[in-house]
C-alpha cells in the first residue's frame, strides 16, 4: 500500500506548511459526496492519529486514515497548472469513473 507525491507537489506542500507556520504534514482522504460518489480531501494536518498511516516521501509526511487508504492505494499526488489555475491533482488507479467536471469519482 502506498501513496506517492511528485517533486513539484512536495515542494509546494513544504512551502505552504512553512507559510502556515504549524502543522505536521498533509492529510489526504476521500469522502462520500458529490454526484459521482466520492471526492478527494486534501488538508493541512495538525496531528497524527494512532490509526493513521504515514508515508514520508520527499520530505513531506502524507497522512491518511486506514479506510481512505483502501480507496487511495497507488495514488500519485501532483501539483500542476491548467490554464490560469493551479493546484493539486490526484492520479488514482482505483478510480473507475468520474463525473463530468472531474470533482468527484467512483471506484
Amino acid at each position: 500500500m502506498s501513496i506517492t507525491i511528485t517533486e513539484n507537489a512536495a515542494d509546494r506542500v513544504k512551502t505552504f506548511l512553512d507559510n502556515r507556520g504549524s502543522g505536521v504534514g498533509l492529510r489526504v482522504g476521500v469522502k462520500t459526496t458529490g454526484c459521482s460518489g466520492m471526492a478527494y480531501i486534501i488538508e493541512f494536518a495538525d496531528n497524527i492519529d494512532k490509526d493513521d498511516t504515514v508515508f514520508e516521501e520527499k520530505g513531506v509526511k502524507i497522512i491518511v486514515d486506514p479506510k481512505c487508504l483502501l480507496y487511495l492505494d497507488g495514488t500519485e499526488l501532483d501539483f500542476t497548472k491548467e490554464g490560469l489555475n493551479e493546484g493539486f491533482k490526484f492520479t488514482n488507479p482505483n478510480e473507475k469513473a468520474r463525473c463530468g467536471c472531474g470533482e468527484s469519482f467512483s471506484v
Partner: protein, 615 residues
C-alpha cells in the same frame, strides 16, 4: 480533473460547491484580485501574466471592453473613474477628472452620455468589477461567494455606498469595505499587535495617499489622512521624457513623445535595479546619438516631488498631533515606492526602516484577501474588529433628552438593548426617535430616524414594556427594532448613521459636547424636573377624577388644586429648583389624600374577605 487546494483541517469543500472569498483592490489606475489559497495569499494573473488589471472601461456602440484603452471615435473610454464615484457634478467640474463625453447631473450624481445611455460612475465602475468577477470565476472554476473591496481611507459615506452599489450591480456580495491603509497593515500581519501607530505611504501611478492608523487591540482607527490626487509615478515618467528632450534639444511629435513616454517607464523600472542605463534613441529615430541616464540623474529629477510627499507626510503627522518618533511602523504601498530613492528618503525622514517586503502593488489586495478569508470563517484566526462608531447612538426620552444606547467608540458590529415603558395611562402608541450625538438635548444632536410603535395594549403608565434593540453591522448600518413584550409585535427601521456626515462635522459635534458639558447637565436636570412635574400632575389629575370628591372635602381639594396649579406654572419657569420645590409641595399637600386612597382601596379589597386569607 479539477485541481484541488489544501484546506484547513475539516474545512474541505464539497465538489460543485467551490466557493471563493476574494479581496479586491479597486484602484484608480489598476485593480487586483487576491485570495487565500493553500493557506497562502495568491494574487490572480490575467492571460498576459500580469497581476494588474487596468481600471479602464471602453464603451462601443453595443459592447463594453474592460482593461484596454481605445483612442478612436467609435469608442468612449473612461479611465480613473474611481475619482468620480459617489461624487456630484460640482466635484466633476472642480476635479482633474477628464470626461471623455458629455455629462449631465445634479447635486447628487453625475451621468455620462455614453451613446444612447446615461451612465453613472457607479455603473461604469461596476463594469470593472464584473470583469474582475468573470476572470476570477473562470480562473478558479468556482463562484465568488463574497468579497472584501478596499477604498481609500478618506472616502466619505457617499463614495463608500457608491462602491458597494457598484459591487452589487456587478453581482458581487460585499462582505465588507476595507480602508486601503488598513488592508496594507493586515497584509503585514500588524493586526496581531496590541498597540501601534502605523503610517502608510502609498504612491501609485497617479495618486499619492498617506494615512496614519491607530491600532488598538485589533481595532484600526484612521487618525488622519492626506495626499495629492495628481501626484504619482506617471509624473516621474514625464520628467524623464522632459529630461531626454532637453538633452537632445529637439521637439518631438506626439506619437514619438508617446513612444518615449512608454520607454521612460521602462527606464524608471530598470533604474530600481541598476545604477545606469543606456538610452536607446533608435526607438525615436535617432540612430547616432548616445545618451546615458543614471540613478543619480533620476533622483535629482524627482527630488522635488519626493520632498513634496514628505511635506504632506509631516502635515498629516501634525494633523494627528504626532511626531515622527511616535510612528511604530511605516508601510510602503504602490508601485512607485520601489524606487530606491523613495525608500531611502522615507527611511531618512522617519528614521526607521519601512516595511516593503511584500510587492507594493499587491499589498492592499493581499490584505483584503486575508480579511475576506477571516470573514468567510475558514481561517484559524479570530474575527478582526476593524471599526468603531464615531458618535453615540441613542433615543429621545421624555423631556427631549437623549438616552445613549450605543456609546461612541464602540467597536462594530455591536448590539445593545434597553426597555422603555409608557408615560401615560392607556397609552397605545410610542414614537421612537433615533438620535446621534454626544449632547444631552435632542435639539443639539442629529436626528437619524423616527418611527411609531402602534397597538400597545392599553395599560397603566409604566406597566407596558417596550424592548428597544440597536444593532450595528460591520458596515456601520444601524437597525433599530422595538418589541412590545406582551404581544411580541416588532417594529423596525434601518438607518445609515454616518450618511451625509464627514469627519470634521463629527469632530465639531464631539468638541461641542465637551464645550457645553455644563450647560448640557443643567438643561438635562431642568428637563428631568419638568418631566417629573408633568408626571406628578398627570397622576394626581387621574386620581382626583376617580375619587377626589369622595375622599376630600372642598377645602382639601382646593389646597391640592392650588399646589397643582402652582407646579404647572413653575414648569415654564426654567428654574429647576422651583419645579422640584413645587413637586414636593404638591406631594406634601396630597399626603393625606394619598393615604386615604390607600386605605379606601385596601378596604375595597378586604371587603367581604375572610380575615384568615390575609394571614
Amino acid at each position: 480533473m479539477a485541481l484541488l487546494q489544501i484546506s484547513e483541517p475539516g474545512k474541505s469543500q464539497d465538489p460543485h460547491q467551490k466557493k471563493y472569498y476574494v479581496g479586491i483592490d479597486l484602484g484608480t489606475t489598476n485593480s487586483l484580485v487576491a485570495l487565500i489559497s493553500n493557506g497562502f495569499p495568491r494574487v490572480l494573473k490575467n492571460k498576459e501574466g500580469s497581476e494588474l488589471f487596468p481600471s479602464i472601461v471602453s464603451y462601443k456602440k453595443d459592447s463594453v471592453i474592460v482593461g484596454e484603452y481605445f483612442n478612436d471615435s467609435a469608442s468612449i473610454t473612461f479611465s480613473s473613474i474611481k475619482r468620480m464615484i459617489g461624487k456630484n457634478i460640482k466635484d466633476l467640474n472642480s476635479s482633474d477628472f477628464y470626461s471623455p463625453c458629455e455629462f449631465i447631473g445634479d447635486d447628487s450624481i453625475v451621468k455620462f452620455k455614453v451613446f444612447k445611455n446615461l451612465l453613472t460612475p457607479i455603473e461604469i465602475s461596476s463594469e470593472i468589477l464584473k470583469h474582475l468577477k468573470n476572470i476570477t470565476e473562470q480562473t478558479l472554476m468556482g463562484d465568488i461567494e463574497g468579497c472584501v473591496i478596499t477604498v481609500p481611507a478618506y472616502f466619505d459615506d457617499a463614495q463608500r455606498q457608491a462602491t458597494k452599489d457598484a459591487a452589487s450591480l456587478s453581482g458581487l456580495k460585499v462582505l465588507r469595505l476595507l480602508n486601503e491603509p488598513t488592508a496594507a497593515a493586515i497584509a503585514y500581519g500588524l493586526a496581531s499587535k496590541k498597540i501601534s501607530k502605523i503610517m502608510v505611504y502609498d504612491l501609485g501611478g497617479g495618486t499619492f495617499d498617506i494615512s496614519i492608523l491607530d491600532l488598538n487591540d485589533g481595532v484600526f482607527k484612521v487618525l488622519s489622512t492626506g495626499g495629492d490626487s495628481s501626484l504619482g509615478g506617471d509624473d516621474f515618467d514625464y520628467l524623464i521624457v522632459d529630461y531626454i528632450q532637453s538633452k537632445l534639444d529637439i521637439e518631438l511629435d506626439s506619437e514619438k513623445k508617446y513612444i518615449l513616454y512608454l520607454y521612460a517607464k521602462k527606464i524608471k523600472v530598470a533604474l530600481s535595479e541598476t545604477e545606469i542605463v543606456d538610452i536607446e534613441l533608435e526607438k525615436i529615430g535617432l540612430e547616432n546619438t548616445k545618451l546615458t541616464f543614471s540613478r543619480d540623474d533620476f533622483n535629482l529629477l524627482i527630488n522635488d516631488l519626493v520632498q513634496k510627499t514628505l511635506k504632506i507626510s509631516s502635515e498629516v503627522l501634525l494633523d494627528a498631533n504626532l511626531s515622527v518618533n511616535d510612528i511604530n511602523e511605516i508601510i510602503l504601498v504602490g508601485g512607485s515606492t520601489r524606487t530606491p530613492f523613495i525608500k531611502y528618503s522615507v527611511k531618512n525622514f522617519f528614521n526607521k526602516e519601512p516595511l516593503s517586503d511584500i510587492n507594493p502593488d499587491n499589498v492592499v489586495a493581499i490584505g483584503a484577501s486575508i480579511q475576506a478569508d477571516i470573514l468567510s470563517g475558514s481561517s484559524k484566526e479570530e474575527l478582526l474588529l476593524l471599526d468603531v462608531i464615531p458618535l453615540s447612538l441613542g433615543v429621545e426620552t421624555m423631556g427631549e433628552l437623549v438616552e445613549v444606547i450605543i456609546p461612541r467608540n464602540s467597536t462594530i458590529p455591536t448590539s445593545s438593548s434597553k426597555e422603555y415603558t409608557t408615560f401615560k395611562d392607556g397609552q397605545t402608541a410610542m414614537s421612537i426617535h433615533v438620535i446621534q450625538g454626544e449632547r444631552d438635548l435632542v435639539s443639539d444632536c442629529r436626528s437619524l430616524a423616527k418611527f411609531i410603535i402602534k397597538d400597545i395594549p392599553p395599560m397603566l403608565a409604566g406597566a407596558a414594556r417596550i424592548k428597544l434593540e440597536f444593532q450595528i453591522d460591520a458596515d456601520g448600518i444601524l437597525s433599530v427594532s422595538a418589541t412590545e413584550t406582551t404581544t411580541n409585535k416588532v417594529t423596525s427601521i434601518e438607518v445609515k448613521p454616518s450618511y451625509g456626515i464627514n469627519d470634521s462635522q463629527i469632530e465639531k459635534m464631539l468638541k461641542d459636547s465637551f464645550d457645553n458639558a455644563h450647560t448640557d447637565i443643567k438643561s438635562r436636570h431642568l428637563n428631568e424636573a419638568i418631566v417629573e412635574g408633568k408626571r406628578v400632575i398627570l397622576s394626581i389629575n387621574s386620581a382626583l377624577k376617580i375619587d377626589g370628591s369622595d375622599l376630600l372635602n372642598e377645602k382639601e381639594l382646593k389646597y391640592i388644586y392650588k399646589a397643582r396649579d402652582e407646579l404647572e406654572e413653575m414648569l415654564n419657569s426654567g428654574e429647576k429648583e422651583s419645579i422640584i420645590d413645587a413637586v414636593k409641595n404638591l406631594e406634601k399637600v396630597s399626603e393625606t389624600y394619598v393615604s386615604r386612597r390607600m386605605n379606601s382601596n385596601i378596604q375595597k379589597i378586604m371587603k367581604g374577605t375572610d380575615i384568615k386569607e390575609f394571614n
